[in-house]
């Protein structure tokens, strides 16, 4: 990837200067245009996308949030319908498509949403997801990749603007707002207090810390040949099967559905929850038989979904390199290391093939 190309491409967009002082004003303006969500501090050292009450709490320089943006479109716990337990009847639960502005998200986060869009549009397009997804505007921000971010290695550069309306790049005085689409243009103009920038902005290169040994477009090929790799068994030795990698994944969307009844036994709700293929009961069938009993086969399934199954269908990798599975894995299993081990296995196989 040539960084000069990125600079050229980005400078084709209209640019405005948002000074550091103007950022809270801009957020306040955004709040007049829709419900604004942004990364805010959660706990001592973590971040979470939350509704913005006070623009002062918005964080623009953060490594990643705990949950990805999917929580807004596929909530961790979602009521599908409510029922009258005594009379055996139900009411549909409305999905309100409020206008929402997501402020200060990273490019891989946006890509994660685009992957989910694919998954929920294909086959039977799901109203619940797609209704929530409507009327959303995304304002991106640059970030410094840390040792867990694989996005760059997977072809999603920091300045990837697909899906965004505005992209923010930090400069000395504040941020340069690159206007990406019409919605972004309307917001900048509506705010009206920013100065247009005409000179070329030399965007600083943000080098990736995590590397993959192959170009990302060779990964589906690698995954065609590593189904029986010993790497899966090696990971299973460390893996605790806690499911953190599934739940926090930007593109995982598997779910479970449960009915719960109120304590007075009058009413109840049918709810869906995030679920994951790493968890014990996920692949269970009648008679408690489990057709993916081993942690090794579960990890294999999880990663084949990211790099092969959905990729073959959609043409895009379904890992966006957010780094959550590595960063939050209690056993410190690192996705980059895993992929490199699989690549090594694959190259070894190829060498053997050539030798014969």
């Amino acid at each position: 990837m040539n960084y000069l190309d990125t600079i050229t491409r980005m400078n084709l967009h209209e640019k405005y200067l948002l000074t550091s002082k103007q950022i809270p004003d801009f957020i306040s303006f955004l709040k007049t245009q829709g419900a604004v969500y942004a990364a805010q501090k959660k706990g001592e050292q973590s971040y979470s996308y939350q509704y913005v009450e006070d623009p002062a709490n918005v964080v623009l320089d953060y490594p990643r949030t705990i949950q990805p943006l999917k929580k807004f479109f596929l909530p961790p716990r979602e009521e599908l319908l409510s029922f009258d337990y005594q009379n055996n009847s139900y009411q549909k639960t409305d999905v309100v498509a409020e206008k929402r502005i997501f402020f200060g998200i990273h490019s891989y986060e946006m890509q994660g949403v685009l992957r989910l869009d694919y998954s929920f549009k294909k086959g039977n397009p799901e109203g619940n997801y797609l209704n929530r997804r409507e009327n959303c505007i995304f304002i991106g921000v640059s970030y410094e990749p840390d040792e867990f971010h694989l996005a760059n290695a997977l072809g999603i550069e920091v300045e990837n603007t697909e899906g965004l309306s505005i992209y923010l790049e930090p400069v000395r005085e504040g941020y340069i707002a690159f206007v990406i689409d019409e919605a972004g243009q309307n917001l900048i103009q509506g705010f009206g207090k920013t100065a247009k920038v005409t000179e070329t902005i030399h965007i600083k290169e943000k080098p990736a810390k995590a590397k993959i040994r192959y170009h990302y477009n060779r990964l589906p090929k690698v995954f065609e040949h590593v189904y029986t790799s010993q790497v899966w068994g090696q990971i299973a030795k460390k893996c605790l099967g806690c499911g953190t990698c599934n739940l926090l994944c930007s593109t995982c969307y598997c779910f479970d559905v449960r009915d719960e009844v109120s304590l007075d036994l009058q009413s109840g709700t049918r709810e869906r929850f995030w679920d994951g293929c790493m968890l014990n009961r996920f692949a269970e069938v009648a008679g408690n038989e489990n057709f993916r009993d081993e942690l090794s086969s579960r990890t294999r399934h999880r990663l084949h979904r990211k790099f092969k199954y959905l990729t073959e269908e959609s043409g895009a990798l379904h890992c966006v390199g957010c780094g959550r599975c590595s960063k939050y894995c209690p056993a410190k299993i690192n996705l980059g290391t895993t992929i490199n081990a699989l690549i090594d296995d694959f190259t070894e196989q190829q060498k053997l093939k050539e030798a014969y």
């Binding site: 599908l80 319908l81 029922f83 009258d84 337990y85 055996n88 009847s89 139900y90 549909k92 869009d117 998954s119 929920f120 549009k121 294909k122 086959g123 039977n124 397009p125 799901e126 109203g127 619940n128 797609l130 209704n131 997804r133 409507e134 189904y227 969307y253 598997c254 779910f255 479970d256 559905v257 449960r258 009915d259 009844v261 109840g268 049918r270 679920d275 293929c277 996920f282 692949a283 269970e284 069938v285 009648a286 008679g287 038989e289 057709f291 993916r292 086969s297 399934h301 084949h304 979904r305 092969k308 199954y309 073959e312 269908e313």
Partner: protein
């Protein structure tokens, strides 16, 4: 995003439908005859399933055990083994249940026309196959021989005794049955289902086998069919997974890249024989 151009669907709302008849089949199985509101037909294909729910007890995939040629109502044969199915066994005629579907691919009956049909049914596997058996019997002249091979653990688990009696008596149906563990009154064959296959006199080129049974059965039935030189292309089977949503989203039924609820539950054997985790 171009969501406006997409027909968004309300996928998870059931249609409240009435139980119009309950038949006690065995100690653990009952047949429920269900009618959708306003007499509408389910419009299913043999081999498809519905998502059945009772509020408070959840939802589960249940295969349809009646032929689409029977309109205005459909049958579900249910073994009491879980939260929902136990509850079903407490429901009575007139009770309402939630129905979504039909889902899955079902058998492509156009490919079966003119063929000799061999049904291999293990235990409760007869329930999903019954939709196809009934279909072939309703369109009897469209098919060649109809051979039904049925095995259960013991005589008390035999489903549909009255239908079986009819099949046994019909000259145009070849019916073979065996039990694993006979009781004192049992006069029929004893042994596992695979013992019924070697004696069959099949014209393999025009025979299509439809196989459904418990997971352990498939491997042995496939071996027995192979020994009869039945080509893999002539074998179909239906797989059981816990299809939670039925619409290819929830992920529970996924085997490698295949969603059983979308690409199955009926599979052409050549398509899945190299699919690990399938059988």
């Amino acid at each position: 995003m171009e969501a406006t151009t997409i027909q968004k669907q309300e996928l998870y709302y059931p249609l409240m439908s009435e139980i119009i008849q309950v038949d006690h089949l065995t100690r653990t199985e009952k047949r429920f005859i269900i009618s959708l509101p306003d007499g509408q037909s389910l419009g299913h294909k043999p081999g498809q399933f519905v998502e059945l729910s009772v509020f408070g007890f959840g939802e589960a995939p249940i295969s349809i055990s009646s032929s689409p040629t029977k309109t205005g109502q459909f049958d579900l044969t249910i073994r009491a083994t879980g939260r929902l199915t136990d509850k079903m066994h407490h429901l009575k005629t007139g009770n309402l249940v939630g129905i979504r579907g039909p889902f899955g691919n079902g058998f492509d009956v156009s490919l079966l026309k003119g063929k000799d049909m061999l049904f291999v049914c293990g235990g409760i596997g007869l329930a999903p196959l019954k939709s196809l058996i009934d279909y072939t019997l309703a369109r009897r002249s469209d098919f060649g021989r109809i051979i039904i091979v049925y095995g259960t653990k013991n005589p008390s688990e035999i489903l549909y005794p009255s239908e079986i009696k009819v099949w046994q008596e019909r000259p145009d149906v070849e019916f073979h049955m065996t039990v694993d563990r006979p009781d004192v009154n049992w006069e029929g064959k004893v042994g596992v289902i695979t013992t019924l296959i070697p004696p069959l006199d099949l014209v393999v080129e025009r025979t299509v086998a439809a196989v459904v049974g418990p997971p352990v059965m498939y491997k042995f039935v496939l071996m027995a069919l192979k020994a009869k030189r039945l080509p893999d292309e002539n074998i179909y089977m239906s797989l059981e997974r816990r299809m939670k949503c039925g619409v290819g989203k929830c992920g529970h039924c996924q085997i490698n890249h295949t969603y059983v609820c979308q690409d199955g539950p009926v599979f052409h054997y050549p398509d899945i024989k190299r699919l690990e985790e399938a059988i």
